[in-house]
Amino acid sequence: MNCEKVQKLLPEYWAETIPVNSHREIEQHLHQCDTCQAEAEMLGELWADLDRLPTLEPSTDVRSRFYGMLDAYRSGVDEKPKRNWFHWAIPAGAFAMLAIGIFVGRVNVTPVDPQIAQLRGEIHGMRQMMALSLLQQQSPADRMRGVSYAYRLDKSDGDVVTALLETVKSDPSVNVRLAAVDAFRKVGTGVAARKALIDSLKAQDSPLVQIAIIELLVDLNDRTTAKSLQSFSVDSAVPKEVQESARWAAGQLN
């Protein structure tokens, strides 16, 4: 069995839904191949984490919210549908997106094995789901693992960036907040996220987190943040060390 085939079968291998013969062949291959071994360990860890996720219990008002939504839906159905341009815009937009997709697909000549691309996409999706789910947990250790998953994402994702920003703003654990700030180096930030980080500076109760955010902004080399950092550095409510850091950062970015 070659690497390609083994990597394709790894999800079924961990889910234990694979025939015994193939299972044995995969194990033999893993003993010989470090790359597949590392991939298998990573997937195994992800699988174990999915297993460990606590089952979320529905809150008590779920029933009333559900019936509220059902009533709203029924009353919407009962209303006479209005004909306006918006009804045509959605299918027209979908058709345009399809046409663009087909065009881009035809001109894109990069030879990527679709199965490997699909597998990568699935792993990315699972990591993203793990990050988002763990960041909501009660235990600080679990939230820290959520930040770790975010750190291991290959590319930035809007939902993960939003969850990390929320963590930086309000997580009770200083260490989880520090790790979330650090994760932005890997996950990446857009203009809106950088603005949100600057806005969160004042509300931070930990000077260490404030300094970590300032250092991150310098590392990201976003010159548009220099002015905000300069005004933050003369804010008398800010601790002395943080003021000095902000002054240094503004100087670096100017």
């Binding site: 770790s148 260490n175 989880v176 520090l178 650090d182 300094i211 590392d219 060390e241």
Partner: protein, 236 residues
């Protein structure tokens, strides 16, 4: 659902008193949460089943029975929660089963000390140091103004850890076979380690941007963050 509730300050004249609180549900992980404003917390692992709480400060002087200063101690779903009032000085020694997760907060601590615990340990202090001795599992430890010291026997291979201090140093001792991805950053201190850290970033390593690398091939993320202090990462 079992709920135990005690008002410790209702017994101010009793000489040093132990309070035993049972964890009610063996099926769930044990968790101890404590949040104290003034005083000291020591948590020790022992081979019993209950949490035994000793408040030494109560032995010295009588306390007013005003509600503002009363401690509360509750148990629910295997989570014991202890909260200290603002005016009270709590010098607490808490014994819990070895396998218990901890979430401890102390603002004006002499020292927050944890010994012989296996679990997820999360400790935060403002004016006191943190000292963790012979602990296992995962650790998140932060002190704003003092040092963080940890001697870790075994590391949970699936969990990330973090150690941080603004004005103190960080001194951590790990098992020799530690596998980890480490990220270290201190602004005004130095970084020392006797582990072989394989540095990331190739030839262009910017010390002012912190250092990251792998130990023994890599593993869970461990973050070390200081500002005015140094970082020591030692082999056991």
């Amino acid at each position: 659902m079992k709920l135990a509730f005690f008002l410790i300050a209702a017994f101010p004249l009793i000489a040093q008193q132990d309070y035993a609180v049972a964890f009610s549900d063996d099926a769930r992980p044990r968790v101890l949460k404590a949040d104290i404003v003034n005083g000291r917390i020591t948590v020790r692992g022992y081979s019993g089943k209950d949490a035994i709480i000793t408040n030494e400060s109560m032995a010295r002087e009588p306390r007013r029975l005003d509600t503002d200063g009363v401690f509360s101690l509750t148990e629910q779903n295997n989570v014991i929660t202890l909260n200290g009032g603002v005016r009270k000085q709590a010098n607490l020694t808490i014994q819990v089963p070895h396998r218990t997760s901890l979430q401890l907060r102390c603002t004006n601590c002499g020292e927050l000390r944890v010994e012989g615990i296996e679990g997820d340990i999360d400790v935060n202090t403002v004016n006191g140091g943190v000292r963790l001795i012979n602990v296992s599992g995962s650790v998140l430890a932060h002190s704003l103004n003092q040092s963080v010291t940890a001697i870790i026997d075994r590391v949970d291979p699936n969990k990330a850890m973090s150690f941080s201090s603004m004005n103190g140093s960080i001194d951590c001792t790990f098992p020799t076979d530690l596998r980890a991805n480490v990220r270290m950053r201190t602004t005004n201190g130095k970084i020392h380690t006797d582990f072989d850290v394989r540095l990331a970033g190739g030839e262009a390593i910017r010390m002012d941007r912190g250092i990251s690398g792998t130990i023994n091939g890599g593993g869970p993320e461990i973050l070390f963050k200081a500002f005015n202090g140094s970082i020591h990462i030692r082999k056991k």
